[in-house]
């Protein structure tokens, strides 16, 4: 993919992902959960693609700040929007959405948090981008695009008048 992906490219990815989601869990009455902040944007976009009646509850949002594994190294996160799961997850099939899967640590934290709300029947992991650099045995089930980046590069989703992807390297924007 190109280094700067515009809204159009992302929409194409999202529509393919929506089809895959329909095939995978369409008959399971799933619930949708986005991880703050980028995951919530992607979840909202997928919700639009899939249509209002695909989910029988509004979007849940997860903030994993209290479940991170680096509190003793970097302390409190500056701003935390509380998690909001406006449904019972017990026995339900969940679609867990994030923008970028990298180390896998965010998803580890998110799964721990989800299980503090109840015991879901299944969790399907959805990501717009999966990149190399995994540190945990965690892989997305439904992926928009897989990319290979060098360790000094970061891929970042922004949301200014539409979703955009940027690759930032420690040498600045390429």
């Amino acid at each position: 993919m190109t280094i700067h992906a515009s809204s159009n490219d992302i929409n194409t990815l999202l529509s393919t992902m929506a089809t895959e989601i329909r095939d995978a869990v369409g008959d399971k009455n799933p619930l949708l959960i986005g991880i703050h902040t980028g995951g919530v944007w992607i979840a909202k976009a997928l919700e639009q693609q899939l249509g209002a009646d695909f989910f029988d509850a509004s979007l849940g949002t997860l903030n994993i700040a209290y479940y991170r594994d680096d509190f003793t190294r970097i302390g409190m996160h500056p701003q935390v929007t509380p998690s909001d799961l406006p449904f019972e997850i017990e026995g339900r099939h969940l679609l867990l959405v994030d923008d970028v899967i990298h180390s896998g640590r965010t998803i580890r934290a998110a799964l721990n948090e989800i299980f503090d709300y109840g015991r879901p029947a299944s969790v399907t992991l959805v990501a717009l981008i999966e990149r190399n650099g995994h540190e945990l045995p965690i892989h997305a089930d439904i992926i928009g695009e897989s990319v290979t980046l060098s360790p000094d590069q970061q891929i970042k989703l922004t949301n200014n008048e539409g979703l955009n992807l940027e690759i930032i390297s420690s040498k600045g924007i390429e």
Binding site: N63, G75, T81
Partner: protein, 323 residues
């Protein structure tokens, strides 16, 4: 008092007093408490933020509510908690306060929550603990009770939102109240429009005007147009000290009854830090009435204490970075 309770970057390291803190920090404590409140919606009402941390509740003075909510707050953050009731412990065997502290430090404690009858005790302990230990003041003598003040501010914000528009009246024994002292400081920092203190001359500080408050000796005048009424506990020993004639007479003059409550604004809220003396500073019908938020204060105490504990222990990373 020097602000040794903050790190070089202005983050909370200890929480000893409201005095000298800035509005953004008080707002941050309340915002974080708001975020922690959502944990009570979880099936497992716990987050692993302080897993592996050891918090020692050092209570040199009796307390049920404060100690319990500190303990519950620490447990909701997954810290290990030890409760030490010192009056019945080592110090009665002749061990000095500092020896007790150093022993607890040697057990790799990360935080001391201190209540003590002497003003300045928490500050003293903060000066002598190892650099990796945070100290939270859970009430020292007549000096300060900062977490109580913050949970009160949080309760007010939940009901009234905009501090500058508010008129808040604190009724009762202001002179001996660490709660009132911390509340007045917090209300002033948050820019509350008007702060009033109401009570008999013998129970108000000598230079009340210097606190930036309006002083009333008469309930009828003092409660007019008030949005928030905070009643304080009247301690029995005040009567023995001849500062007051009797509990009954106090109730007649300063007890919050339904009739007196009607003088305040119709949507005024009634607060009390507890424990309540029913029929002394507040009538049962008011304490249990629709305008009372007294039990909410207790609930909010957990979230506020979670916020303060996690912020103070979060700064440890910053301190270690400086070493």
């Amino acid at each position: 008092m020097t602000n040794n309770q903050l790190t070089e970057n202005g983050h909370l390291r200890h929480f000893l007093t409201i005095e000298g803190l800035k509005r953004p920090l008080l707002t941050e404590i309340m915002d974080r408490a708001e975020q922690f409140s959502s944990i009570s919606h979880q099936q497992v009402k716990k987050v692993p933020l302080l897993r592996g941390k050891t918090i020692v509740n050092l209570f040199f003075e009796n307390s049920t509510r404060t100690r319990t909510t500190f303990e519950l707050a620490a447990k909701r953050l997954s810290a290990d908690v030890i409760n030490l009731n010192i009056s019945t412990s080592a110090t009665s065997k002749g061990e000095s306060l500092l020896d007790t502290l150093h022993n607890l430090e040697a057990m790799h404690s990360d935080m001391f929550v201190v209540r003590h009858a002497q003003s300045g005790a928490a500050e003293f302990i903060a000066q002598h603990v190892a650099p990796h230990v945070s100290v939270i003041n859970a009430g020292d003598g007549c000096h300060a009770h900062p977490t109580q003040a913050m949970l009160d501010m949080f309760t007010i914000r939940r009901h009234k939102q905009h501090f500058p528009d508010l008129c808040v009246a604190i009724v009762g024994d202001i002179l001996h109240s660490r709660v009132a002292r911390s509340q007045i400081q917090a209300l002033a920092i948050l820019g509350v429009g008007e702060i009033r203190i109401i009570g008999p001359q013998t129970l108000l500080p000598a230079h009340s005007d210097a606190l930036g408050v309006h002083v009333y000796h008469d309930m009828e005048a003092g409660l007019k147009n008030v949005d928030v009424i905070i009643t304080l506990r009247l301690q029995q020993e005040r009567m023995q000290g001849a500062l007051l004639p009797s509990a009954r007479e106090y109730f007649q003059c300063y007890g919050l009854t339904d009739d007196k409550l009607k003088i305040a604004k119709p949507d005024a809220i009634v607060m009390h830090p507890g424990p309540i003396n029913r029929g002394v500073e507040i009538a049962s019908s008011v304490a249990d009435g629709p305008q009372s938020v007294i039990l909410e204060q207790v609930t909010h105490g957990i979230a506020i204490r979670m916020a303060v504990m996690s912020m103070a222990l979060g700064s440890q990373a910053e301190l270690e970075g400086q070493l």
